[in-house]
């Protein structure tokens, strides 16, 4: 099966996962793996975001590692690493974290972990954060879950985010680009479809299952709202690639999903000041 089609992978993390050694969690190994998967651009978050409280330290290290390992002017074989820092609206002075992500680290977007950070997307701080992201022209990635709840460490049991709690924000900010990560694990596709219809909401492939899953998904969510995502290094990288390559879909749809939708999002989001 050819891996030749370049992709933009919107669901990548770097640094160690707290609960298991992952072969490709070091930046060097991850870079090698992304190249092997012909990932042209990786949207990279940090696993440190999940539990660390010094979020700016996390975002600073993420920015550094993306600069060191994913050149902004890559050769044909290299992958561009775009850092997606984290803002935790339950932390004191989170607005400064957001400002730094945007203005200092010049990030294109941020990645939120509402379930691990214990806030609802319809809470007041989350509403304010999303409003501020819209004002700044940032992409917002929302991690609906990281792990199957059945396999979580018993000391860290975290329910998936209910995407319905995002609906008021989507209706209020219909132009805010939102990419839902790991969204198919326990969420009925109908809920995701409603969000995609209500605003500028995208999903990605990492947790998509079922035989011919992508063809099935396309019956409810259009190809221009689906991005390529692998959940590497937590997942084996070929899983997403095989889903995309094996799907019997049109070439136009395949390219949209592989890279064009994500690239379009990057073009339409405003750069940092």
């Amino acid at each position: 099966m050819s891996f030749a089609l370049p992709v933009v992978d919107v669901n990548v993390h770097v640094f160690p996962w707290p609960f298991r050694h992952l072969p490709a969690s070091s930046p060097r190994q991850l870079a090698r793996e992304l190249r092997a998967q012909t990932v042209r651009t990786a949207w990279v978050g940090s696993f440190e975001s999940v539990l660390h409280r010094d979020i700016d330290g996390v975002n600073r290290r993420l920015t550094d590692v993306c600069r060191d390992h994913g050149s902004q002017a890559p050769t044909k074989e290299q992958t561009v690493w775009l850092p997606f820092g984290t803002v935790h609206p339950g932390l004191p002075d989170w607005r400064e974290d957001l400002r730094r992500c945007h203005e200092q680290y010049r990030m294109k977007g941020i990645r939120l972990y509402p379930n691990y950070h214990q806030y609802r997307l319809d809470s007041r701080p989350a509403r304010e954060l999303l409003t501020e992201c819209a004002r700044r022209g940032l992409i917002v990635q929302i991690v609906l879950s990281l792990e199957d709840t059945r396999t979580q460490h018993p000391l860290v049991r975290v329910s998936p985010v209910d995407p319905q709690s995002l609906m008021p924000a989507v209706q209020r900010l219909p132009r805010l680009p939102i990419v839902l990560l790991n969204s198919f694990r326990e969420t009925p596709t109908g809920k995701l479809e409603s969000l995609c219809r209500a605003g500028r909401v995208y999903v990605e492939l990492a947790t998509l299952e079922r035989a011919a899953g992508l063809e099935r998904l396309l019956t409810t969510i259009p190809a221009d709202r689906i991005c390529y995502g692998s959940n590497v290094p937590l997942y084996y990288p070929s899983a997403a690639r095989l889903k995309l390559n094996s799907a019997q879909i049109g070439q136009l749809q395949r390219k949209q999903i592989a890279s064009e939708n994500a690239e379009s999002l990057l073009r339409t989001g405003r750069n940092g000041k």
């Binding site: 049991r157 079922r210 997942y235």
Partner: protein
Amino acid sequence: MKALIAVADRFGIQRLVCFMGWPFAVDPTPDELRRQNEQVAEAISAAPERALGYVYVNPRHVDASLAEIDRWIGNGPMVGVKLWVAVRCRDGRLDPIVDRVAHYDGVIFQHTWIKTGGNLSGESTPDDLVALARRHPQARFICGHAGGNWELGIRAVRPQANISVELAGSEPTRGFTEMAVRELGAERVIYGSDAAGRSFASQLAKVIDAPLSRQQRRAILRGNLRRMLADILRRREPKPERP
């Protein structure tokens, strides 16, 4: 079945082992067992060169289960049994079922999980399967899903040589196949997809991406199950006519 085979073809999957009909029945009655096994038999008859079947049995109904085993394994074409979540498999009611399957050289596929939030009351853990397999050292067992929480499941079955683990039914989390091969040897690891609920892609990636030798990969993808089924399939081969 044809639709499923068409999807499997995209991945080069040559054989599918199928079990359980529709709708899912967690504690099937004898009638439901018969109906579900007939559904499976009909499905695999549509592609006998590509599909094999396991008989769905329920230890709460031992006589009915034995009858289904005789009907579908004794007479063919099925090659093993599927045990799901009706009874935890350490239960003594499984003994006659296992003996009958072993008599026919079939395999016993037991669904297992160790769910962080707790299992269903009749849902087996890999430890339950070890207890059963110890009582039947001559039988061939497959630990379905490797307990889901595979870091625990692999350890649990490690000392019990007549249990192989199956890789399907969980997310394609990195390290699963590597640990299974390291702790059990590649000869005790079997590829499975859990299709159509799971994606062939996500489950196949567990084998494709793990750093294995070509020989190990082939064993996991087909050689190990083929070896487990060799005796029963050999008995099914037509006997040469006497001159």
